[in-house]
Structures are given as structure tokens and as C-alpha cells.
């Protein structure tokens, strides 16, 4: 495993408004990309300022490349010179684009001569060659952010901090810049913290993900784990789990848990008529625990039960539910199908499948999910 370039332990910062940031433990491994996702106002940008030593924490430890950062201003300045940051706003100075790109190099007393190749690569990749001698005020928001990215990347930082660099850009420019930026990040392979509230961006670029909410890290882990095994309801909702089903573990055998679903209209404690969900995996859970089952819509397969009611018998999936289509919604090239199976279930399927199966609101369907695709966590 790569060594850590950054480690944060028990970092705390309280603001006059009462908002508090507390980071128990967070690490960034060398040459890996950590994506911090979370809703607006969750403290992501403040955390970036704390990491870049632009905000002073109330307490806690930040270790950069194995050395703990002290209170000394000269130490902080020295570490800051090994990091570069791109904020949500491009924050360009009132000098030419070319001078803006070289400003960091000049301030860090570095020469462009050894970086000619990188400079050429960046201005070509970010498509800013024709902008070099213009004043930033005459550029669009997207162009300005391209310049800000070039200015940060030319420094070849040991840690690159990208604080929602695509957030203030209009949609078409945003997609183009996203592709260009992610391609550069792949090429240069630097230790990076990328902050975003867009989980699709996180999916595309992250090695590891930290989910932040209300000043705290709710979950960290490798990308696949956070998306498929959310630690709690907030993370599950934030990473796009459409169906979160409340229930109780009624049995457990061979690491397969039987969860009896709590119905919305539950009045008595009887469970015999309640649907059951089978989930594999989570060893921290035992019989009798109240749990949430998280089912990702892309893991749900829909069947036309009217044509073949026994279709599920030939499937290896442990979970097969029957229900009625409640609604069908367009979500780009896919359709979102909402089904009432005694609980709410959501599936994403192609337009083609919707037409082929003749799906419409009110139609009886079956839905199956593998036990290994259902993640359960304690409530």
C-alpha cells in the first residue's frame, strides 16, 4: 500500500455561527485520488482550507508527508508551497493569463525552464493556448477555471486540492472540462483531494471516497465499498440508493440474513404476512437487530410475471418480489421504474426494455435482487 501523504487526526474547528468541523481520522495515500462528497454546507470547502493551512484549527493534528505540521508560520508556508489548490471560483489576478499561470512558480522561486514540457502539455490539454495573452476578465467562467487549473498543475504539487472546480460552470463547458481534467489527473497521477457534491464525478475519478455531512466524515473507503455498502442512511441516500427498507433480522444462516420488512402501515408486531429480504455479508449484524436494507436501482431486475409466473424459480437470486408499477420516469437514457412490493422498490432499466415488456403504471411485475447486492446496516 502507498504511504500516506496526508493524515488528519481529531481535527476540530468551531465557527462563531456554531458550525463545527470534526474530522476524526482521514488519510490520503500517495498518488491516489480521494474524493470528498457531501451536500452544500457540509464543510467540505472549509476542510480544504484547513488542509491548505489557510484556516487555523482549534485542535487536532495534520501530518504532511510523515511530518506533523506545527504552529510555526514558516513551517506552514513551507508545507503550503508543496500543495496547490483550485477553488470553486477561478480567482485569477488582474494580469495576463500567461502571468497568472506562472504566478505560483514565481512566488515559489521555481523556474519555467524545467517545466516547458509540462507547460506545453497543460495549455494543449486545457485548450488555453489562444488565451495566453488575454486579461482574465475577458474570459468565460469555464475558460477562467481552465487557467486556474493550469496555474495549480504547473506547480507539480505533492498534494493537489480541487475544491469543486466544476461547480460554477455551465453544463456543456462543464462536461468538456470534466473530461479534460480527469484525463490530466490520470496522466499526471498525483495525490489529490477532489471535493464535489456530484456523485457521478466521484464515481468517475475517485480511488477512495469520504462522505461528509454536517462537518463530519460519515464514511470513508474505496469507491466500490462506499457506493455498494453505505454505512448509514445518509450515506446510502447520498450515494444514490433509491430503496432503503426498514426491517428486523429474523434469522441468519451461512452469512445470509433474513430481514423481515416493516410495513409503512405496520400496527401490530406480527411478521408472518410481511415481505422478507435476504442479504449476504455484514458480520456486525446479528439476529434481532433493527436494520436498513439498501438496494441500488441498477441491481434490480424486472420480470414480466404475467407471461411466465414461475420465472423466478430458474434464477439464482434469493430475492424475488411481486408488485405493481407505480410510476415510470425518464432519467436520461434510462427509465426509473418505481414498484410497490409491499415496500418501495426502484429499478433503472433501458427505454428499450420498457417498450419490450410493455411496462406501464399499474402493471403487475416481478423484481429480483441477489442477496449479495443488498447491503444491510444497523439502524
Amino acid at each position: 500500500m502507498d504511504p500516506k501523504i496526508l493524515e488528519i487526526i481529531n481535527l476540530k474547528k468551531k465557527f462563531q455561527s456554531g458550525f463545527e468541523i470534526y474530522i476524526g481520522h482521514l488519510t490520503v495515500r500517495q498518488n491516489s485520488i480521494l474524493v470528498i462528497i457531501g451536500p452544500n454546507g457540509s464543510g467540505k470547502s472549509t476542510l480544504i482550507k484547513l488542509i491548505d493551512l489557510l484556516e487555523k484549527p482549534d485542535s487536532g493534528i495534520i501530518t504532511f508527508d510523515g511530518t506533523e505540521i506545527t504552529e510555526s508560520e514558516s513551517d506552514k508556508a513551507a508545507v503550503r508551497k508543496r500543495i496547490s489548490v483550485v477553488f470553486q471560483e477561478p480567482l485569477l489576478f488582474n494580469i495576463s493569463v500567461y502571468s497568472n499561470i506562472l504566478l505560483g512558480l514565481n512566488l515559489r522561486k521555481k523556474n519555467l525552464s524545467g517545466k516547458k514540457f509540462l507547460f506545453e502539455y497543460l495549455i494543449a490539454k486545457l485548450d488555453i493556448r489562444q488565451l495566453l495573452y488575454r486579461n482574465p476578465k475577458s474570459l468565460s467562467g469555464g475558460e477562467q477555471q481552465r487557467v486556474a487549473l493550469a496555474r495549480a498543475l504547473i506547480l507539480e504539487p505533492e498534494l493537489l486540492l480541487l475544491d469543486e472546480p466544476l461547480a460554477n460552470i455551465d453544463q456543456p463547458s462543464r462536461e468538456k472540462l470534466r473530461n479534460d481534467l480527469f484525463s490530466i489527473l490520470k496522466d499526471i497521477r498525483r495525490s489529490t483531494i477532489y471535493v464535489t457534491h456530484d456523485r457521478n464525478e466521484a464515481m468517475l475519478v475517485a480511488d477512495e471516497i469520504a462522505v461528509m455531512n454536517n462537518g463530519k466524515i460519515e464514511q470513508t473507503g474505496i469507491k466500490g465499498d462506499v457506493f455498494s455498502k453505505p454505512a448509514n442512511e445518509f450515506v446510502a441516500k447520498f450515494v444514490g440508493v433509491e430503496a432503503l427498507i426498514e426491517g428486523r433480522v429474523t434469522s441468519c444462516a451461512d452469512s445470509v440474513f433474513e430481514v423481515t420488512v416493516k410495513r409503512a402501515d405496520d400496527k401490530n408486531s406480527g411478521t408472518e404476512t410481511h415481505p422478507k429480504i435476504y442479504a449476504a455479508g455484514n458480520t456486525e449484524i446479528s439476529e434481532g437487530d433493527n436494520v436498513m436494507a439498501a438496494i441500488r436501482p441498477e441491481d434490480v431486475t424486472i420480470f414480466n410475471v404475467s407471461e411466465n409466473p414461475e420465472v423466478f424459480r430458474n434464477s439464482s437470486a434469493l430475492n424475488f418480489f411481486s408488485g405493481k408499477v407505480i410510476s415510470i420516469e425518464d432519467i436520461g437514457f434510462l427509465k426509473k421504474i418505481e414498484i410497490d412490493c409491499g415496500f418501495r422498490m426502484v429499478s433503472f432499466i433501458t427505454r428499450n426494455s420498457v417498450e419490450r415488456m410493455g411496462l406501464a403504471a399499474g402493471k403487475e411485475v416481478g423484481a429480483s435482487v441477489k442477496a449479495s447486492s443488498i447491503h444491510i446496516f444497523k439502524r
Binding site: L54, A77, R80, I83, E89, L91, F93, N94, G104, L107
Partner: protein, 239 residues
């Protein structure tokens, strides 16, 4: 109208005939106001930046003081300087009263609040996140200040213009601490007052016209520096 026309004619004659007295007055005016503005710039710009870019307890009070100072009546400035430089005053031993140095001190007192006040207002308009960006790029505190001055270049030059305009045209303070002594502390404004008192109206007009030309020339130079990024036809012509 006849009076103005006579004044214009007189001013040309006075300048181009090489009248020693008038040339001395012009040079002393430029020297006193020039030094005063340079000293005020050196104090007022960093002070305006430091106050504008930082938040600290008592900031509002200091800003209020500066704003009050921007409207300081020249006679009040003259009185303060006199109180300190008068022969029996604490700094009387320096024998600066009725010297160009005393006039410079009085004008510094007038121009510094103007320059720092306008600078302060100018940097307050700069996006505060630019300071963070400069720091994150590796700037130290001095470099941050310099970058901020460049960001506020246009309004800062406006501050210098306002300061220069304030001192070159004032009469109360320089009259009080300079004494309008012929050949020693007489500047354009005090000489104008003297000419009006003596009923020498064409001469007074001539001095005022010279004063206006000097103020205009100084402001043209500053405007050209200020708008160097957007060359005007006159700059292109000079290039």
C-alpha cells in the same frame, strides 16, 4: 472676461519670460506637494491595505478616524503642526516653523488620511478570497500586500490623485505653518491669496492658471499609468 483673458496672457508671459520669482514659486509648490504626496503614499497605502485586508478589534473605530481625517480642514492640520513646531512647543528646538519642511508635514497630515481612506475602500472591493489564493500559491505576507496593491492599482492611483489634488490646492495649512515668506515659503496658493489682497488680479489669475496646469499635468501622468493596460489614443501616440 477681460480679467480672465489678461490672466491667461500674464501666465504665458510669466512662464516664458523666465520670471525668477514665479519659477521659484512653481518649484517650491512642486517640491512641497510632491514630497508630501510621496510620504503620504508610503504611509497611507500600506496602512490602507493593512486595515482593509485584515479584521481586528477596533477596525471600525480606526476606519471612522481615517474617514474623519479625509475631511480634515487644512487650517486644523496647520494648527496641529503649529502647536508642535512653535518655538516654545515640544518640537520647537527643531526650528522648523515657517520652513518648507513644516509645510510638508502639514500637507502629509492632510494627504495621508485621504490616500489611506481611498486605498482602504479600494481593497475592500477586492474579492477577499484572492488573498487566500495568493497565500496558497506561496506568497508571503509582503508579497500578498504587493499582489493586492496591483489588484487595486486603479483605485490606489485614484487615491494618490486625490491626495495630490488635496495638497496642491490647499492654502490654509501652508499659510499658517509656512507664513508665505517671499522666496522661502511662498507657494502658488499662498501667492494667489497675496495677489488678490494686493488687487493684482491678472497676476492672481496667472498663478491660478499655472496651478491648474500643474494639477492637470500631474493627473494626466497618473491617468496614463493607471490605464496602461487599456491604451488610449494619446498613449498609442506617445509610444
Amino acid at each position: 472676461m477681460q480679467l480672465i483673458w489678461e490672466g491667461i496672457k500674464q501666465s504665458f508671459i510669466l512662464i516664458f519670460s523666465g520670471n525668477r520669482e514665479v519659477l521659484d514659486i512653481i518649484l517650491l509648490t512642486l517640491k512641497v506637494s510632491g514630497f508630501a504626496v510621496i510620504i503620504s503614499m508610503l504611509m497611507g497605502i500600506p496602512a490602507g491595505l493593512a486595515i482593509g485586508l485584515n479584521n481586528f478589534r477596533g477596525k471600525k473605530f480606526i476606519v471612522s478616524l481615517i474617514n474623519t481625517g479625509m475631511g480634515l480642514p487644512p487650517v486644523a492640520a496647520g494648527l496641529f503642526v503649529s502647536v508642535f513646531l512653535w518655538r516654545s512647543s515640544p518640537l520647537g528646538f527643531l526650528h522648523l516653523m515657517y520652513t518648507p519642511t513644516a509645510m510638508i508635514v502639514a500637507q502629509v497630515l492632510i494627504a495621508t488620511p485621504i490616500i489611506s481612506g481611498v486605498t482602504l475602500a479600494a481593497v475592500a472591493q477586492i474579492n477577499p478570497k484572492l488573498k487566500l489564493q495568493a497565500l496558497s500559491l506561496g506568497a508571503n505576507r509582503t508579497q500578498v500586500l504587493w499582489i493586492m496593491v496591483k489588484e487595486a492599482k486603479l483605485p490606489t492611483l485614484a487615491a494618490v490623485m486625490a491626495g495630490f489634488g488635496g495638497v496642491i490646492s490647499e492654502v490654509g495649512a501652508v499659510m499658517m505653518v509656512g507664513g508665505n515668506i517671499k522666496g522661502q515659503t511662498r507657494v502658488l496658493t499662498t501667492a494667489t491669496v497675496q495677489m488678490v489682497r494686493m488687487g493684482e488680479m491678472p497676476m492672481a489669475f496667472a498663478l491660478v492658471i499655472i496651478l491648474l496646469v500643474l494639477a492637470f499635468a500631474a493627473n494626466i501622468v497618473l491617468t496614463l499609468i493607471q490605464q496602461r493596460d487599456n491604451p488610449t489614443w494619446i498613449q498609442k501616440f506617445w509610444r
